[in-house]
């Protein structure tokens, strides 16, 4: 009996030790595995069905030909160089020795297949306007050289295809079925809908073996939940924690908080073709009613930069020093309101319910505009409803943002402010109006900037167009966006990029 008890105790002790050893082993593995809490669902099949339900952003499973530098310039990636041989022809040299996750080498055939089949054929018309390519416009020169024929002169082509969604995959990939074969530093292992995407290290990555063995991208759309996940240690890193809790997070020793100005900007967009906001005096009055510094310093908890224009200055052809300024001056604003055609009617202000801080910002606007005698009715709507209302021009003000997920940001100027841009075209063709288009010389300046291969000429044209847009007070600029990353203080190796979706995880480490 005694002997059997000893044996039992020894067994328990042995089992315990074995368990501990097992845990220790797990812990070692955990040291190189990281969990990242994202503000958007990385498994949204309605948006990511082309990638088997995996977000092409963030996950770094797939890669485009071109990447972006910290100052928003195209950067060689799967392509090492590119040249415009004439106004509409681009020749790209591919990087040699790049392996797909299935072991095959990347060649020009894969690039042609991807563009012709995956991008131009499958994704339809909208891609033609975005990339200025049509089916049959991508040809192989040799195994490592590809030629692109754009539909019109498009100097922004390399920067535009520097986008996570313009990824290269071989014909073997069955993307819609979730068989994703990329060239990225991580391989796709698991997509659990509504929960997470899990990827693992790809040892043969052309840029060198990544440090993390495993990354899990977790859906955490609610900012409070996201912040709780970080504080409870369930995730190692989150994007955009709850602003209300930023001061407390910044004071913690075990959490590191970093911010990076992004390519985004938030403004109040004014419908200049609808009464009474078609009156420039009223629009200037609205600009004089707002203090961007106060907005950023209070309700935004210092996250963001006070804006003077509608486009983030991280984009190289934006120079906010060249733009007219509207300081908050309520007396001037009231005088301008009196001079204008405004007659105490209620201005409709549309805000997307999904917009970060949209509810708070719109209330500040409503109050500040009220101070100068302008009444605003805020309508918080779903994205689709906002688009529907704006497409019909049934609003006066719209709190919205511009931004770019690629270094090629020319489209911001074209789509928003050119008469034939997507925001204005339909109303212009139907009624001769639009939303934010001044037309005439501004259209000409945008065209010049858009089609200029010379950076200085592009910049001059765009800056002049923005100066006129701000002089006519087409928007009330609010703030240039920053994104915040809060992480376990032991996590190191993440460099923040102006395009937050260009995050690279290859060098993530955890210090002791």
């Amino acid at each position: 009996m005694y002997s059997s008890r000893r044996r039992f105790l020894a067994g328990v002790a042995g089992g315990g030790l074995a368990s501990l050893a097992g845990c220790a082993g797990d812990r070692t593995a955990d040291e190189t595995a990281f969990t990242i809490g994202l503000a958007s669902d990385p498994t949204d099949t309605s948006r990511y069905d082309n990638w088997g339900g995996m977000a092409p952003y963030w996950t770094r499973v797939i890669e485009p030909l071109v990447w972006g530098t910290d100052d928003m310039q195209p950067k060689p990636w799967l392509a090492t160089d590119w040249t415009a041989t004439d106004d509409t022809t681009w020749v790209f040299d591919l990087r040699e020795g790049v392996s797909f996750h299935n072991g095959e080498e990347l060649t020009a055939d894969d690039v042609v297949h991807t563009f012709e089949e995956n991008i131009l054929t499958e994704r339809g018309d909208f891609v033609y306007g975005w990339l200025h390519l049509e089916p049959g416009s991508v040809t192989k020169i040799d195994d490592y050289t590809v030629e692109f024929e754009t539909t019109d002169p498009f100097p922004g082509f390399p920067g535009t295809i520097a986008h996570n969604m313009i990824d290269i995959q071989p014909p073997d990939a069955d993307r819609r079925a979730g068989k994703i074969i990329g060239t990225g530093p991580f391989t796709l292992e698991e997509v659990r809908r509504g929960q997470h995407v899990r990827v693992e290290r790809f040892p043969d990555y052309w840029g060198g073996e990544p440090t993390p063995t495993e990354l899990t991208f977790r859906a955490a759309e609610d900012e409070t939940t996201r912040t709780d996940l970080l504080e409870s240690g369930e995730v190692d890193l989150i994007y955009n924690p709850s602003k209300g809790r930023l001061p407390a997070l910044r004071e913690r020793d075990d959490v590191r908080v970093d911010a990076q100005q992004s390519a985004g900007a938030v403004s109040t967009w004014i419908n200049i073709h609808r009464e009474p906001t078609d009156d420039v005096d009223l629009r200037r009055a609205l600009n004089h009613a707002i203090s961007q510094e106060e907005l950023v310093g209070t309700v935004l908890e210092g996250v963001g930069e006070p804006a003077r224009g509608p486009i983030s200055p991280v984009i190289d052809w934006v120079d906010e020093d060249e733009l007219p300024t509207y300081e908050r001056d309520r007396d001037t604003a009231r005088e301008l309101v009196d001079q204008s055609a405004y007659d105490d009617e209620e201005l409709t202000c549309l805000v997307s319910a999904d917009m970060d801080d949209g509810r708070t910002i719109s209330q500040v606007l409503e109050s500040q505009f009220g101070e100068i005698g302008v009444t605003v009715d805020i309508e918080l709507l779903e994205n689709a409803s906002v688009k529907d209302r704006t497409s019909r021009g049934e609003f006066h003000l719209h709190v919205g943002s511009t931004g770019s997920n690629s270094p090629g940001a020319d489209y911001i100027m074209w789509e928003n402010f050119h008469t034939m841009g997507v925001d204005n075209k339909d109303l212009y063709e139907a009624e001769g109006t639009g939303l934010y288009n001044l037309g005439g010389e501004v259209d000409a300046l945008i065209e010049t900037g858009y089609q200029s291969y010379e950076p200085a000429a592009k910049r001059d044209a765009y800056v002049e167009a923005q100066r006129r847009i701000m002089d006519a007070a087409v928007v009330v600029p609010l703030f240039y966006q920053e994104y915040v990353v809060a992480a376990d203080a032991a996590v190191e190796g993440l460099e923040l990029h102006p395009i937050e979706r260009f995050a690279e995880w290859r060098d993530l480490t955890r210090t002791a």
């Binding site: 409070t224 602003k243 209070t298 708070t360 209330q363 500040v364 109050s367 918080l380």
Partner: protein, 302 residues
């Protein structure tokens, strides 16, 4: 003139004596929980009516320099993320919440009672049809259906009222129909019919008064549910539009500041809880004394 006054005074005295000696009232007030419920509801109703008069600040008035201030004498419930006085917003919100609750319950009550009365009294295929309609309506979870209706109509308080009203009438209809079915077989109804009283008059003068008790009980319980439903829909953005000081909207905005500024979410949260609690206690108390199937008399010592 003096004679008329005397008549009125005498009448009032008689009514007062009747109330004082009423066994129903005595039964109601004998339970301290009923008194507590009544006190809560009366207090909140007064706050809702007088709120805008006694509120120290304009509920939409922002003071960004004094945002997220904890409770002080100047701001008894602190300030919110835009520097607005939470106490003032709570008082204005009480009027909104109570107004919506009363309006929605009134719509439910009138609609449900009319349908129940019609189904129960007319009977036949009309009863079948209306009761199947009620079955269909009751088959859906109320708040989920309200969510769908409010989502389709778009976010606004008016649409929330509509959404809550159209999903809540069925229980009134079923209750009234049941009472009418039993009441219409009673002798006094048969007598009225034999005397040639019209069907409408029988329904309104003889049947309706006999179903009032249970309906009032249900309506009182419903008031709390509607306040909860309104706050819930506003919380998820389908109700009040900013800067309307609605309790659910305030709760939603405050949840992001729960750790640093607990008062923003807790003040409307406590108000919602207290209100629903008050209406539930009151409803329970009324059911005890008005429900004909319930012994409404005071407990006798054994």
């Amino acid at each position: 003139m003096s004679g008329a006054l005397d008549t009125v005074v005498t009448g009032l005295r008689r009514r007062y004596r009747a109330v004082r000696t009423s066994r129903t009232l005595a039964a109601f007030f004998a339970n301290p929980l009923n008194v507590a419920g009544l006190a809560i509801v009366v207090t909140l109703s007064i706050a809702a009516v007088l709120g805008p008069v006694v509120a120290p600040y304009d509920p939409a008035s922002q003071d960004l320099a004094n945002r997220l201030q904890p409770p002080t004498l100047a701001h008894p419930m602190g300030t919110d993320q835009l520097g607005r006085d939470v106490f003032s917003r709570l008082l204005y919100g009480a009027r909104l919440s109570f107004g919506i609750a009363v309006a929605v319950t009134a719509i439910r009550l009138v609609l449900g009672t009319a349908i129940g009365l019609l189904a129960g009294y007319v009977g036949g295929w009309v009863d079948e049809f209306l009761m199947r309609l009620v079955d269909v309506q009751l088959a859906f979870p109320g708040l989920v259906l309200a969510l769908v209706v409010a989502g389709i109509l778009g976010p606004s308080l008016r649409n929330v009222m509509l959404a809550l009203a159209v999903v809540g009438w069925a229980s009134y209809a079923r209750l009234v129909r049941g009472s009418v079915l039993s009441t219409k077989e009673r002798e006094f109804v048969k007598a009225a019919r034999l005397m040639g009283v019209s069907r409408v008059r029988i329904a309104v003068r003889h049947l309706l008064p006999n179903v009032v008790g249970p309906v009032i009980v249900l309506a009182t319980m419903n008031l709390g549910t509607v306040i909860l439903g309104t706050a819930g829909l506003s919380f998820i953005g389908l109700g009040a539009q900013p800067p309307t000081p609605e309790w659910g909207t305030m709760l939603s905005a405050g949840r992001h500041h729960l750790r640093g500024a607990w008062w923003i979410a807790n003040a409307p949260g406590a108000a919602i809880m207290l209100t629903v609690f008050g209406f539930n206690l009151l409803g329970d108390g009324l059911r005890d004394v008005l429900d004909p199937n319930h012994d409404a008399t005071l407990e006798k010592p054994t």
